[in-house]
Protein backbone atom coordinates (compact mmCIF):
# COMPACT_ATOMS: atom_id res chain seq x y z
CA UNK A 1 0.00 0.00 0.00
CA UNK A 2 2.73 2.39 1.02
CA UNK A 3 5.03 1.66 -1.93
CA UNK A 4 2.08 2.24 -4.20
CA UNK A 5 1.53 5.70 -2.78
CA UNK A 6 5.22 6.50 -3.20
CA UNK A 7 5.13 5.31 -6.78
CA UNK A 8 2.07 7.42 -7.44
CA UNK A 9 3.64 10.51 -5.93
CA UNK A 10 6.85 10.08 -7.91
CA UNK A 11 4.79 9.58 -11.08
CA UNK A 12 2.89 12.81 -10.51
CA UNK A 13 6.15 14.55 -9.66
CA UNK A 14 7.70 13.30 -12.91
CA UNK A 15 4.70 14.57 -14.86
CA UNK A 16 5.04 17.95 -13.16
CA UNK A 17 8.72 18.17 -14.09
CA UNK A 18 8.05 17.28 -17.74
CA UNK A 19 5.16 19.75 -17.96
CA UNK A 20 7.30 22.49 -16.48
CA UNK A 21 10.11 21.80 -18.93
CA UNK A 22 7.68 21.95 -21.84
CA UNK A 23 5.77 25.03 -20.73
CA UNK A 24 8.65 27.11 -19.33
CA UNK A 25 9.93 28.44 -22.70
CA UNK A 26 6.44 29.62 -23.64
CA UNK A 27 6.01 31.37 -20.31
CA UNK A 28 9.43 32.95 -20.71
CA UNK A 29 8.48 34.12 -24.21
CA UNK A 30 5.21 35.65 -23.04
CA UNK A 31 6.90 37.25 -20.02
CA UNK A 32 9.71 38.76 -22.10
CA UNK A 33 7.36 40.05 -24.75
CA UNK A 34 5.58 42.07 -22.08
CA UNK A 35 8.75 43.64 -20.66
CA UNK A 36 9.84 47.14 -21.60
CA UNK A 37 12.74 47.21 -24.00
CA UNK A 38 15.35 48.46 -21.58
CA UNK A 39 14.79 45.58 -19.17
CA UNK A 40 14.85 42.70 -21.64
CA UNK A 41 18.13 41.25 -20.40
CA UNK A 42 17.51 41.48 -16.69
CA UNK A 43 16.75 37.76 -16.53
CA UNK A 44 14.01 36.73 -14.16
CA UNK A 45 14.06 40.02 -12.26
CA UNK A 46 10.61 41.53 -11.93
CA UNK A 47 10.34 44.38 -14.46
CA UNK A 48 9.21 47.79 -13.24
CA UNK A 49 6.09 47.54 -15.35
CA UNK A 50 4.57 45.20 -17.92
CA UNK A 51 3.74 46.97 -21.15
CA UNK A 52 2.07 46.17 -24.44
CA UNK A 53 4.50 48.51 -26.21
CA UNK A 54 6.11 45.63 -28.10
CA UNK A 55 2.76 44.56 -29.50
CA UNK A 56 1.81 48.10 -30.42
CA UNK A 57 5.13 48.53 -32.24
CA UNK A 58 4.66 45.17 -33.92
CA UNK A 59 1.25 45.97 -35.36
CA UNK A 60 1.98 49.64 -36.12
CA UNK A 61 5.38 49.52 -37.73
CA UNK A 62 5.72 46.09 -39.30
CA UNK A 63 3.77 44.08 -41.83
CA UNK A 64 2.96 41.32 -39.42
CA UNK A 65 -0.71 41.29 -40.38
CA UNK A 66 0.20 40.53 -43.94
CA UNK A 67 2.55 37.74 -42.83
CA UNK A 68 -0.25 36.39 -40.66
CA UNK A 69 -2.66 36.40 -43.61
CA UNK A 70 -0.09 34.70 -45.86
CA UNK A 71 0.62 32.04 -43.27
CA UNK A 72 -3.06 31.43 -42.68
CA UNK A 73 -3.70 31.17 -46.40
CA UNK A 74 -0.91 28.63 -46.90
CA UNK A 75 -1.84 26.59 -43.84
CA UNK A 76 -5.56 26.47 -44.64
CA UNK A 77 -5.02 25.50 -48.28
CA UNK A 78 -2.43 22.86 -47.39
CA UNK A 79 -4.67 21.40 -44.69
CA UNK A 80 -7.73 21.35 -46.93
CA UNK A 81 -6.01 19.78 -49.92
CA UNK A 82 -4.17 17.27 -47.73
CA UNK A 83 -7.32 16.05 -46.02
CA UNK A 84 -9.33 15.84 -49.23
CA UNK A 85 -6.61 14.04 -51.13
CA UNK A 86 -5.87 11.68 -48.26
CA UNK A 87 -9.53 10.76 -47.83
CA UNK A 88 -10.01 10.52 -51.58
CA UNK A 89 -7.02 8.20 -51.99
CA UNK A 90 -8.45 5.53 -49.75
Amino acid sequence: MKSRTIRRISFVFGLLVVTTVVIAPFCWLLFCSLKPRTQLFTGLAIPSALTLANYVALFRHTEVVRFLCNSTEVAVVVTGVTVFTAVGRL
Binding site: S33, L58, E73, V77, V78, T79, T82
Partner: protein, 162 residues
Protein backbone atom coordinates in the same frame (compact mmCIF):
# COMPACT_ATOMS: atom_id res chain seq x y z
CA UNK B 1 11.42 10.46 -43.71
CA UNK B 2 14.54 12.24 -44.91
CA UNK B 3 15.80 15.66 -43.93
CA UNK B 4 13.98 18.44 -45.79
CA UNK B 5 17.30 20.00 -46.78
CA UNK B 6 17.75 17.20 -49.31
CA UNK B 7 14.96 18.45 -51.58
CA UNK B 8 15.57 22.19 -51.32
CA UNK B 9 17.58 22.58 -54.51
CA UNK B 10 15.40 20.32 -56.68
CA UNK B 11 12.21 21.95 -55.42
CA UNK B 12 13.65 25.39 -56.12
CA UNK B 13 14.57 24.27 -59.64
CA UNK B 14 11.10 22.90 -60.28
CA UNK B 15 9.41 26.00 -58.91
CA UNK B 16 11.56 28.37 -60.93
CA UNK B 17 10.82 26.28 -64.01
CA UNK B 18 7.11 26.70 -63.26
CA UNK B 19 7.60 30.42 -62.49
CA UNK B 20 6.21 29.86 -59.01
CA UNK B 21 9.04 31.30 -56.95
CA UNK B 22 8.01 34.31 -54.91
CA UNK B 23 4.43 33.11 -54.75
CA UNK B 24 2.43 31.39 -52.09
CA UNK B 25 1.22 28.78 -54.57
CA UNK B 26 4.76 27.46 -54.94
CA UNK B 27 5.16 27.16 -51.18
CA UNK B 28 1.80 25.40 -50.95
CA UNK B 29 2.80 22.89 -53.61
CA UNK B 30 6.08 22.02 -51.92
CA UNK B 31 4.41 21.64 -48.54
CA UNK B 32 1.64 19.50 -50.01
CA UNK B 33 4.25 17.18 -51.48
CA UNK B 34 5.55 16.65 -47.96
CA UNK B 35 2.24 16.36 -46.06
CA UNK B 36 0.11 14.25 -48.39
CA UNK B 37 2.12 11.00 -48.35
CA UNK B 38 2.38 11.01 -44.59
CA UNK B 39 -1.32 11.83 -44.22
CA UNK B 40 -2.42 9.05 -46.57
CA UNK B 41 -0.25 6.62 -44.69
CA UNK B 42 -1.60 7.79 -41.33
CA UNK B 43 -5.25 7.73 -42.46
CA UNK B 44 -4.80 4.25 -43.89
CA UNK B 45 -4.18 3.05 -40.34
CA UNK B 46 -7.46 4.59 -39.22
CA UNK B 47 -9.51 3.19 -42.08
CA UNK B 48 -8.15 -0.36 -41.85
CA UNK B 49 -9.19 -0.38 -38.23
CA UNK B 50 -12.85 -0.02 -39.20
CA UNK B 51 -14.33 -3.47 -39.84
CA UNK B 52 -15.15 -4.15 -43.47
CA UNK B 53 -18.50 -5.63 -42.36
CA UNK B 54 -19.78 -2.17 -41.46
CA UNK B 55 -19.31 -0.97 -45.02
CA UNK B 56 -20.90 -4.15 -46.39
CA UNK B 57 -23.86 -3.77 -44.03
CA UNK B 58 -24.39 -0.21 -45.22
CA UNK B 59 -24.32 -1.33 -48.84
CA UNK B 60 -26.78 -4.16 -48.16
CA UNK B 61 -29.08 -1.60 -46.55
CA UNK B 62 -29.15 0.30 -49.82
CA UNK B 63 -26.26 2.76 -49.62
CA UNK B 64 -24.15 3.42 -52.65
CA UNK B 65 -20.39 3.18 -52.15
CA UNK B 66 -20.05 6.93 -51.72
CA UNK B 67 -22.97 7.08 -49.30
CA UNK B 68 -21.42 4.29 -47.25
CA UNK B 69 -18.21 6.26 -47.16
CA UNK B 70 -19.93 9.44 -46.14
CA UNK B 71 -22.44 8.18 -43.59
CA UNK B 72 -20.62 5.22 -42.08
CA UNK B 73 -16.88 5.37 -42.61
CA UNK B 74 -16.16 9.09 -42.31
CA UNK B 75 -17.83 9.56 -38.90
CA UNK B 76 -15.91 6.57 -37.56
CA UNK B 77 -12.62 7.86 -38.94
CA UNK B 78 -13.26 11.44 -37.78
CA UNK B 79 -10.59 11.44 -35.04
CA UNK B 80 -8.05 10.28 -37.60
CA UNK B 81 -9.08 12.91 -40.12
CA UNK B 82 -8.86 15.63 -37.49
CA UNK B 83 -5.46 14.36 -36.38
CA UNK B 84 -4.27 14.52 -39.99
CA UNK B 85 -5.71 18.00 -40.45
CA UNK B 86 -3.99 19.26 -37.31
CA UNK B 87 -0.72 17.69 -38.43
CA UNK B 88 -0.93 19.35 -41.84
CA UNK B 89 -1.91 22.71 -40.35
CA UNK B 90 0.90 22.79 -37.82
CA UNK B 91 3.44 21.51 -40.33
CA UNK B 92 2.63 24.19 -42.88
CA UNK B 93 2.26 26.89 -40.23
CA UNK B 94 5.72 26.16 -38.84
CA UNK B 95 7.52 25.53 -42.11
CA UNK B 96 10.49 27.87 -42.35
CA UNK B 97 12.94 26.27 -44.74
CA UNK B 98 10.94 26.17 -47.98
CA UNK B 99 9.42 29.64 -47.75
CA UNK B 100 12.92 30.91 -46.94
CA UNK B 101 14.28 29.46 -50.15
CA UNK B 102 11.29 30.17 -52.38
CA UNK B 103 10.25 33.63 -51.24
CA UNK B 104 12.16 36.91 -51.43
CA UNK B 105 9.34 39.38 -51.77
CA UNK B 106 8.25 41.14 -48.60
CA UNK B 107 4.62 40.97 -49.72
CA UNK B 108 4.37 37.18 -49.76
CA UNK B 109 6.46 36.31 -46.69
CA UNK B 110 4.94 33.90 -44.22
CA UNK B 111 5.00 34.39 -40.49
CA UNK B 112 8.15 32.39 -39.63
CA UNK B 113 10.04 34.41 -42.22
CA UNK B 114 8.62 37.60 -40.77
CA UNK B 115 9.75 36.60 -37.28
CA UNK B 116 13.22 35.78 -38.56
CA UNK B 117 13.26 39.09 -40.41
CA UNK B 118 13.46 40.95 -37.11
CA UNK B 119 16.97 39.63 -36.70
CA UNK B 120 19.14 41.83 -38.86
CA UNK B 121 22.86 41.76 -39.46
CA UNK B 122 23.69 44.41 -36.93
CA UNK B 123 20.71 44.67 -34.68
CA UNK B 124 18.03 42.38 -33.31
CA UNK B 125 14.65 43.96 -32.65
CA UNK B 126 13.89 41.87 -29.60
CA UNK B 127 10.61 43.54 -28.72
CA UNK B 128 8.73 42.99 -32.00
CA UNK B 129 10.46 39.62 -32.39
CA UNK B 130 9.14 38.31 -29.08
CA UNK B 131 5.70 39.81 -29.69
CA UNK B 132 5.55 38.26 -33.17
CA UNK B 133 6.55 34.90 -31.74
CA UNK B 134 3.68 35.09 -29.26
CA UNK B 135 1.29 36.13 -32.00
CA UNK B 136 2.36 33.18 -34.14
CA UNK B 137 1.72 30.66 -31.34
CA UNK B 138 -1.80 31.89 -30.64
CA UNK B 139 -3.62 30.34 -33.66
CA UNK B 140 -2.06 26.94 -32.95
CA UNK B 141 -3.05 27.26 -29.30
CA UNK B 142 -6.65 28.07 -30.21
CA UNK B 143 -6.75 25.19 -32.68
CA UNK B 144 -5.52 22.80 -30.00
CA UNK B 145 -8.01 23.99 -27.40
CA UNK B 146 -10.85 23.20 -29.79
CA UNK B 147 -9.56 19.94 -31.24
CA UNK B 148 -7.79 18.48 -28.20
CA UNK B 149 -10.32 15.81 -27.32
CA UNK B 150 -10.49 14.49 -30.90
CA UNK B 151 -6.73 14.49 -31.15
CA UNK B 152 -6.13 12.45 -28.01
CA UNK B 153 -8.57 9.83 -29.26
CA UNK B 154 -6.83 9.95 -32.64
CA UNK B 155 -3.31 9.42 -31.32
CA UNK B 156 -4.46 6.31 -29.46
CA UNK B 157 -6.22 4.58 -32.31
CA UNK B 158 -4.26 5.05 -35.52
CA UNK B 159 -0.79 4.39 -34.22
CA UNK B 160 -0.23 0.65 -33.92
CA UNK B 161 -1.21 -0.92 -37.19
CA UNK B 162 1.04 -3.03 -39.38
Amino acid sequence: MFPGVVIIVPSYNVMSFLHLTNSLVGVMLVELVLTIPFSVWMLRGFFTEIPRELEEAAIIDGCSKMQALRHVLLPLALPGIIAVAVFAFIFSWNEYLFPLVLINDEAVKTLPLGVAGFMGHLYVEWGPLLAAAVVSTIPILILFIFLQRFLIKGIMSGAVKG
